[in-house]
Every structure is written in C-alpha cells, then in structure tokens.
C-alpha cells in the first residue's frame, strides 16, 4: 500500500488530477471540476439525506450531458422502485436503459435464504459488476449502499477483504465510482468504508434547527486537489440536487457606471445624475406601513417599462395581493406579468431554512435571468434564522447578484423601538444605497418622510422629503422648512395657506397706506395753496401800505413844495414857479 500511495501522490503532483464533472449544480464548483476520475468516492450520510439521489443524478447527468454511460448497482431498492422515485425529477430511467446509456442492477441479499458454509468469496458480485460495466461501456459506477452486504453476510473477515479487492477492482477498471454509506455513530460510515476509499469523501447531512430542516453537504476530504471546505446547503427539488457554492472569496467583481431610474422621478432628482447604478444593491427600510413595498413595486414597474426582466421575491404577500394593491396607486403590474417581464416568486419564509431560501433564490434567478431583483421583505426571513444568519445569507446573496450584475432592492421593516438605525439586519454596510422612510408624527397625523441615508459613489441630497402615495403613484415633495421646523402633511398645507393669507393681507395693507399717502399729499397741497393765498393777501396788504406811504410821501412833498413855493414867491416867484412846474413835469 505505501508504495502505491507514494506513486499516486507523485502522479498528482506532476499533473492536474483528472476530474469527472457530476453535472450537479454547484457540486462541480465546490470540487473544482468534479469527482476524481477513475477513483471511488464515498458519499455518506444518515438516512434520508439524499445519498441515493445524488449518486443517481451523477449517473443520469453523466449519461445525458457528458455521454458517459453509467451503472447503478442498487442494494436497497429495486430498479423499478428507483425509476418511480426519480420520475418526479424528470429522470426517465427506463428510456436511458433502453438506449443502453445506463444500467440499473438490483442486487438482493436476503439473509433468510442464505446459509454460509465454509470459505467463499464475492466473485459473483465482481462478475456481475464487470459484466454490467462492459455491456454498456460504463465510465461511471454507483454502489448504493454496499453496506447492505454486511447485513446479508456474516463473515466480516471475508467481506472486508473482498471490499478492499472491490475498490481495487473499480480502480483497475478505470471507472469513476460513488459508493454510498450510512453514517455511523462515531465514524463516517457504519462499517468504516472510509478506510477503503481514501480519495474523496463527501458527507451529506440533514439537520433540523428550530423545526426547519436544512440539507448540507461537506467535502470531508479530496486528496490531491483544492476544494471548498465549508458546509454547503443543498436543495432537492424538481430539477434534482442543487448545491450552493455560496461565497466567492474575492472582492473583484466588475462594476457598471450605468444608471437607471428608481421609478420615482423626484427620487432620481435627489441622486446626482438621475438614479441608481446598475448592479448595485439598494435597501429600503422603514417602519410598518411606510410604503416600502410600493417603492419596491415602482422600482420593478420602471424596470419592466424599460423592457428589463424583473423578479419579485415576496415573502409576505401573495403575487395577486401585490398586484391588486399596486393597482390602487396607479401601477399595473399585471401587464408586465403577462408580457413575461415580471415574475413573482412567493414563498413562506418558514417553508424552508434560510440556506434553502438562498438556494431557491439562486435557482430562480439562474433560470429567469432577471436584471432587477426585489426582495420584499428581508426582515421576514428572521423568523427562520437569527440576525447573524440572515446577514450571512444576505452577504452571499448580494455577492452573487453583484457577480451577475443584477440590481437588487431589499425592503426591511425596522421596528419603532429600535433606536439605533445602524442595526438594520446589519446589511446597511453591505448595500450601496439606503433609503429610509420614516414616520413623522405631528399634530395628530402621520406622514412619511424619505431620505437617502447613503448612496455610494454619487452625490445625493441630504434633505428629508415628504413621501406621498397618491392614486397616481409615488411622489416626493419638498418639506416645508418654517420657523417652527419641518412641517409635513396637513401642517405643511396649513402653513402654506397661512402664508397665502398673509400675502393677501399685506397687499391690502399696502393699498391702504398708498391711499393715505395720496390723501396726505392732497391735504398738504391744499394747505400750501391756502398759505400761498394768505401770503398773497399779506403781500397785497403790505404793498398797499407801501404805495399809500409813497403816495402820502409824495403828497406831503408836493404840499411842502407848494408851501415853499408859496413862501418863495415873495423872493422869486417866477423861478420857484418854474421850478415847481419843472418838478411837476419830472414827476
């Protein structure tokens, strides 16, 4: 044995270990290519964890997708039982058998029929196996569950020796084999099969936590190659098994600087360049009844109007309910559903575990390939997991969506009692944009205020806007910033009315003053008039006195002259007579 191990190790070092893809969604990613080619792989797990299905899917996918025929040796179920069991998954075993692509061999061991006497070996099994492999040229073999041999045969020493020989035989045949085994108490398998299969061991698990079951898969070992080491949840549904290779470890996704509208024009205006980035994640949080779903639906509606595919994951309401409710605010989602652009995916959070939800979301997205995804609301998932579980799930979901360049909008219900806004499911740090809708309670009414908490990589308004839901859809209105602070709703209306009234009153007041001024001017003017006439009369008066004086003076002068003349006649009457005459003439 040691020599063989050494040789195989050196072989793996010299070149890449050849791998056989399983065709099972996700499993090939975890195993980085598939199961080791030409080697046996052990798949173990407790009852009902999906071992048979996994191995059967390996055979069927091999036959259908990789053109590798396969042999399924069933120790537990008959061929027709198997066919019936997997018919619901769309595997038509009978057809594949008729096409010689697969061969199902049922090996029945009934202890009551068998007596053991003396030495024997399992050459019969080898011959059957060999015959089955050669008859269709099989490349893949499944032994399900070989441990049944132990219940049918008692001689353990022979069995173990033969099992070792069997695995060697499978390697020699060069087939890629899956051996399934029941999980034991302390060991991986009840019969310690892991000591024979040393190349690859996959453990399946089915756990119930808080009454919710989750299937998980883990690669216990895979010699000579890289592989994912975590426990990966997997889902069994109508398409078979899907494993979710959740987180990509690197943060190196491509980014887009395309932007597109949120469906609310006023909101777009709050963001520089008019909208969100493509491929970004947007969180809408708010208390109950703030219109988160409406925001999300309008986002969807807008995406569909642009002709993009959109997927709406509803964890709270049924699709019909959402469509009806959105119609009440003037949004017709039904037309988008009819045209195939919008798809709803409604499920109860408690339907399965968180990881299962993630797997289901993955599958749905992979199938529909939407450009826009809405999850409404993520908070409801808390009912099936703790906050940290939800967070880790969302991290992986966002990761996946960004990888696919899908824009996602989450809605989250925040409780009034939660004071610290930073704890919104802890996703606030993961998202690229965060809209917060808040109740503003004032004057006996409740109004909604919307603001952008953050928006990575773009300028955005820091203002609170009033968020109004009307028959015509959603709109944002600038809140009123008055002397008393922010006013919304009817208080805003009232304040606006009040201002209008004031305006009218002021206009009126100005008119009154104008008229008074006019009147005053008139009074002033009339006063000026009367003063002037007074002045004129005074002036006249004064003038009159002045003239009278002059006249009086003249008359006196004349009189004096006359007197002088009269007295002067005695001396020279003639002269004085002349002088007087001259004076008179002068005058």
């Amino acid at each position: 044995m040691p020599s063989k191990k050494a040789s195989s190790t050196s072989k793996q070092l010299s070149h890449e270990l050849p791998k056989t893809p399983t065709g099972i969604i996700g499993l090939d990613e975890i195993t980085v290519g598939g199961l080791p080619t030409g080697r046996p792989t052990l798949v173990c797990g407790s009852a009902g964890c999906g071992k048979t299905l996994l191995s059967l899917e390996f055979i069927v996918r091999g036959a259908q997708e990789y053109n590798e025929p396969g042999v399924f040796i069933a120790f537990e179920e008959k061929a027709d039982e198997l066919a019936t069991n997997v018919a619901s998954l769309g595997f038509d075993l009978q057809k594949l058998q008729d096409q010689k692509k697969i061969k199902i061999d049922y090996i029945h061991i009934d202890r009551s029929e068998i007596e053991e006497t003396g030495e024997y070996d399992l050459e019969g099994l080898f011959i059957r196996l060999n015959y089955a492999i050669d008859s269709i040229g099989a490349k893949r073999v499944v032994l399900d569950t070989i441990e049944n041999l132990f219940s049918g045969l008692t001689n353990q020493a022979i069995l173990r020796a033969e099992l070792r020989r069997l695995f060697q035989f499978l390697k020699d045949k060069g087939v890629t084999a899956i051996i399934t085994g029941e999980r034991g108490e302390k060991t991986l398998t009840r019969q310690g099969l892991e000591e024979y299969v040393s190349d690859c061991v996959i453990l399946l698990d089915h756990r119930i936590i808080n009454q919710i079951s989750t299937r998980r898969l883990r690669i216990v070992k895979y010699r000579g190659t890289l592989h994912g080491t975590n426990e990966y949840p997997f889902l069994i549904d109508e398409d078979g098994i899907s494993v979710l290779p959740v987180t990509s470890l690197k943060l190196n996704k491509a980014v887009s600087s395309d932007r597109f509208s949120s469906g609310i024009p006023a909101l777009d205006k709050m963001l520089s360049k008019g909208g969100f980035y493509r491929g970004s994640s947007i969180l809408v949080s708010g208390t109950a009844g703030t219109g988160k779903t409406s925001v999300a639906a309008s986002f969807c509606n807008e995406a569909c109007n642009r002709g993009e595919k959109c997927m709406f994951f509803a964890f709270e309401e049924s699709p019909a309910q959402i469509i009806r409710n959105m119609r009440s605010i003037g949004m017709d989602l039904q037309q988008h559903v009819d045209s195939g652009l919008l798809q709803f995916y409604a499920s109860r959070p408690t339907l399965y575990g968180l990881e299962m939800h993630l797997v289901a979301i993955h599958k749905a997205i992979r199938r529909f390939k939407p450009q826009v995804v809405v999850l409404d609301p993520i908070t409801n998932l808390i009912t099936v997991g703790s906050v940290s579980d939800v967070k880790s799930m969302l991290v992986r979901l966002i990761d996946f969506l960004q990888e696919e360049q899908i824009t996602v909008m989450f809605t989250a219900l925040s409780l009034n009692t939660v004071v610290n806004e930073q704890t919104d499911e802890g996703v606030s740090s993961l998202v690229d944009a965060w809209l917060m809708i808040r109740d503003i309670e004032m004057n006996g009414e409740r109004n909604r205020g919307l603001y952008i908490m953050k928006s990575r990589g773009m300028k955005h308004s820091n203002q609170v806007r009033e968020f109004v839901i009307s028959d015509n859809g959603l709109d944002l209105i600038d809140v009123y910033l008055g002397p008393d602070g922010i006013l919304t709703g009817s208080a805003r209306e009232a304040q606006m009315l009040l201002e209008e009234t004031g305006q009218v009153l002021q206009t009126h007041a100005v008119g009154v003053k104008d008229r008074e001024l006019l009147r005053k001017r008139k009074v002033l003017e009339s006063k000026i008039e009367s003063l002037r006439s007074e002045f004129e009369s005074t002036e006249e008066e004064l003038n009159k006195a002045y003239v009278e004086n002059a006249i009086k003076k003249e008359v006196l002068e004349q009189n004096r002259q006359k007197l002088t003349t009269l007295r002067g006649k005695n001396i020279s009457d003639a002269d004085s007579e002349d002088e007087i005459k001259k004076t008179k003439k002068k005058k």
Binding site: I107, H108, I114, T117, L122, N130, G152
Partner: protein, 94 residues
Amino acid sequence: MSKAYELRLYVAGKTTKSVAALNNLKKYCEEHLKGQYSIEVIDLLVHPQLAEGDQILAIPTLVKKVPEPVRKIIGDLSNEEKVLVGLDIRTKQL
C-alpha cells in the same frame, strides 16, 4: 421422471473452492438423495449474464430451485450439517 431436487451450483472457473464445493455437493447428494436430484454447474466466467437471475454475489453458491422454498448456500459446502439443513434434507436439530 422429474427430479425432486434441482440444484444449481454457480462457480467462477476452476478455483479450489469451487472444486471443493462441487465434490462436497456430489458426495452429500449421493449419500442422501440418490436418484432424485440433478446438478447444474454454471460457470459465471463463461456466462456472466446468468449471475443476475439468481442474485448471485458470492462464489461458490448453491441454489436449490426445487423444492420450494428457494435456498442459497454459499461457501465450499464443507459443513455437511449446514448443507443438509439448507437443502431441507434434515431439519435443524436444536
């Protein structure tokens, strides 16, 4: 005349165990079932497709087809007591 016992012995080549089983079987039959048995030896190396029909795993396997119920005895048949019980020739003695 139909034989009361129809026995089939599955072997894979002439291995020591197969030869021993066949010899043992012949010996017991001659002793206990003289004239009322037939033995068919099937070599699975020659006819591998026959292994499926009787659900053969171990080699050598003796299958008693008739009389009912069908019984299988595996091994080299070295324990005469067990073989005779298995063939319903002798009831189990407790």
